[in-house]
């Protein structure tokens, strides 16, 4: 019970923050999303015998959330807007917006609660709810004019990455610090195969599979030399790999390849003209475009919809959603499979796993390949979506952020990893920029004019910028997480047992005496 109240208050605070920052109809949208979520959490771990009990719990949760939204709407409309230089809203408008949030949150809670009361079909209904939310989200987003779809697409791209890394780190226990390399390889493969760079304009639907396959092969190539390494040593090698790949892409701008035997003869005879040139003879060949990258990259096209446009998010959203759903299905199948059990065994104890008859080489290489495969997917989509790629996009920070998502959410647990991804990306790409904007206008209208000291004014104007504190906030979150809940938000049951049950262990010892 205490847990439910706690999570309701956390969700309420998030909803309130959303309303404060974004204003407008965002209260209704977030009420819809979190109201459903809050009702779901409230029903977790409870025996729900009839739809009635479910509805009571759901409405309770939704209403609690709605009250947060209503209060936040009042604060935002009457107090916050004037301090940021906009005119306050009328009482009717504020009550409409806040009331809509309240009603939507309660209704969502009611619906979810009723669904949870359906007994044995509970799980399927929950999945159906999630599907409806994901499918209708961009439409609702357009209706409410919140403009979150573009960010959600980015979140989903990173979800693909996090799911892939979860195979390597969460399932097989191989710490990979250079995961962005596979993202880069997928993106650049797409770049080569469907851009004017080397005059190939292959179809995106083919290229995305090739990109994933090329990334998987790269995974094996990285995996092969690291087979004997464990723990820290493996991490360092993968780190190196992650650094090398973007540098290679940055520098493959002047390629000239000679046939090697004739080249040796030519240099021996002192007659360079004898060397037979294969590639880039007249002019060194520019493969990757260096720092400027590859641009433009071909976009996917479908009958009826035509070629996907850059400003029209709907087709992109559904495409990446489809990729994520496919990946989740594949990866959740993997976990219980023979391969998945072999991964679990080598994560626990390599020597014992080997003694059980598990092929270490094959199992580890498969982990790297499968992990890289999904990064290849993400890279291909990303390249086509942005329609341009640069080496600087794929630097170390991407690897670290994805790793953080996996750890924050809960190593080895798909739900947890997705949740970690949504939290980190939403905070980073949605809330933080908006917070920066709101703070800035607040400073300009309400604070700075009242500060007499010019030095202090300068200091305030330059230093109050949450975007600059991005990495700091990020690090702080991780430190707090590791202290409060080291197993992640939604932990994998095995890891939770390891990290949180010293009492059980000592009990067993006592019993054996």
């Amino acid at each position: 019970m205490a847990q439910a109240i706690k999570s309701r208050n956390i969700l309420g605070a998030i909803a309130a923050l959303t309303v404060l920052l974004f204003g407008g109809w965002s209260g209704a949208v977030i009420g819809w999303l979190l109201g459903t979520g809050a009702a779901f959490i409230a029903c977790q771990g409870k025996k729900i015998t009839s739809a009635k009990t479910g509805i009571r719990l759901g409405v309770n949760a939704g209403l609690g959330l709605g009250i947060w939204i209503l209060i936040a709407s009042l604060v935002q409309g009457f107090l916050l807007l004037p301090t940021t230089g906009q005119s306050a809203l009328g009482i009717i408008q504020v009550l409409t917006l806040g009331g809509a949030g309240l009603v939507v949150a309660t209704l969502s809670g009611w619906l979810m609660g009723a669904a949870q009361g359906l007994g044995p079909r509970r799980q399927r209904i929950t999945v159906a709810f999630l599907a409806v939310i994901l499918i209708t989200f961009p439409l609702i987003d357009q209706l409410a004019d919140t403009n979150w779809t573009a960010t959600v697409i980015q979140i989903l791209i990173f979800a693909l990455l996090a799911l892939g890394l979860n195979i390597v780190v969460g399932y097989a226990g191989l710490l990979d610090l250079g995961y962005a390399a596979f993202f880069a390889i997928g993106a650049y493969t797409t770049g080569f195969l469907s851009s004017p760079q080397i005059n190939l304009e292959w179809n995106f639907w083919l290229v995305i599979w090739i990109a994933a396959a090329v990334a998987a092969v790269a995974g094996v190539i990285l995996g092969a030399p690291t087979l004997r390494l464990r723990g820290d040593y493996l991490a360092i090698v993968t780190l190196g790999f992650g650094e090398i790949v973007p540098v290679v892409f940055r520098n493959l701008t002047q390629i000239q390849i000679y046939e090697p035997i004739s080249k040796i003869f030519a240099s021996l005879l002192g007659q360079p003209k004898l060397a037979i040139c294969l590639v880039g003879c007249d002019r060194p060949f520019n493969l990757t475009g260096g720092e400027a990258g590859i641009n433009p990259i071909g976009r996917p096209a479908l009958p009826l919809i035509g070629t996907f446009q850059s400003g029209k998010y709907l087709p992109w959203y559904y495409l990446v959603l489809l990729l994520v759903v496919l990946s989740v299905l594949m990866i959740s199948r993997l976990r219980g499979s023979r391969l998945g059990r072999a991964w679990a065994a080598i994560r626990e104890d390599e020597l014992a796993a080997s003694a059980m008859g598990i092929n270490l080489v094959q199992t580890k290489l498969m982990a790297f390949a499968m992990g890289a495969f999904f990064a290849g997917f993400a890279g291909a989509f990303y390249g086509a979506y942005i329609s341009a790629i640069f080496p600087s996009v794929f630097d170390f920070s991407v690897s670290v952020i994805v790793l953080c998502m996996v750890i924050l959410g809960g190593l080895g647990n798909i739900t947890g990893v997705l949740l970690g991804c949504v939290i980190i990306m939403a905070a980073d790409r949605l809330y933080l920029p908006q917070l920066a904007q709101v703070l800035k206008s607040m400073l300009n209208t309400s604070v700075l004019p009242n500060v007499a000291n010019p030095a202090l004014r300068d200091f305030l104007a330059t230093s109050v910028d949450p975007l600059q504190m991005r990495l700091f906030l990020f690090g702080l979150t991780l430190v707090v997480m590791m202290i409060v809940r080291p197993e992640g938000l939604v932990p994998n049951a095995e890891r939770q047992a390891e990290l949180q049950s010293p009492d059980e262990e000592s009990l067993a010892e006592v019993r054996s005496l």
Partner: protein, 237 residues
């Protein structure tokens, strides 16, 4: 036909010459024990047989197949499995999952089911703990789990590495009586032990190792009455 035969095995850890020409054999149905103090090379012999370490020289034959060229997973499939030193169970898997991992090399679902039942009958303690995580078991229970897990591969030759290590005397007796049962049910056993007294009560034959070499061999009875063994390993004066 001899079941397992090692001929002049030399195994190294880097530059350290751990096994200096080991030759031994195990006949079908036997319990053979390897005795010796710490660092004599007992565990190294088992790891060399199982393919976890590669001997630099010498041949290992199991039912006339050369083992020294096979990878570990193929050796398990031939019918050799091991309860490793220090138990090395999977701590975050349940007892049941640990047993399932033991049968990783097999695909006959029905046979795995019967063997799980057999293992749980041998070790009733494990049945009580079937859904408990391996890491939360007591030392004795972990040892039972390690042996049961090795049995799940349905081995014809079972390698046991220090099954009595760190256990209370009463448990040691229990474990050894189970080892006897396993052998009576038809599994050949190669047993590495420091507790020479217990080992010689269940073994048919034994080898005594010192710094990587076999210094003495004979039937269990001979070894029990041997002067050197009595002094060095049975603690008698």
């Amino acid at each position: 036909m001899t079941m397992l035969e090692l001929k002049d095995i030399h195994t190294y850890y880097g530059n350290i010459h751990a096994l200096k020409g080991i030759s031994l054999r195990v006949e079908p149905g036997e319990v053979v024990t390897l005795l010796g103090s710490n660092g004599a090379g007992k565990t190294t012999i088992l790891r060399s047989i199982q393919g976890l370490l590669r001997p630099r020289q010498g041949t290992i034959r199991f039912e006339n197949k050369a083992l020294e060229i096979l990878p570990a997973q193929a050796i398990v499939r031939l019918g050799i499995s091991q309860s490793p030193e220090g138990r090395l169970i999977f701590p975050r898997m349940t007892v049941k999952e640990n047993l399932e991992m033991g049968a990783f090399s097999r695909r006959d679902t029905l046979g795995i089911k019967t063997d799980t039942e057999r293992a749980l009958t041998l070790f009733p303690r494990l049945r009580e703990r079937i859904n408990q995580k391996g890491g939360t078991l007591s030392g004795g229970e972990q040892q039972m789990l390690a042996i049961a897990r090795a049995l799940m591969a349905r081995p014809r030759l079972l390698l046991l590495d220090e099954p009595s290590m760190g256990l209370a005397p009463m448990l040691v007796t229990q474990i050894f009586s189970i080892i006897q049962d396993i052998n009576n049910q038809g599994t050949t056993i190669l047993l590495v032990e420091q507790n020479a007294r217990m080992a010689l009560t269940v073994a048919h034959r034994g080898y005594v190792l010192q710094t990587g070499q076999i210094v003495l061999t004979g039937t269990a009875k001979d070894l029990q009455s041997n002067e050197i063994v009595r002094k060095a390993y049975l603690g008698e004066t």
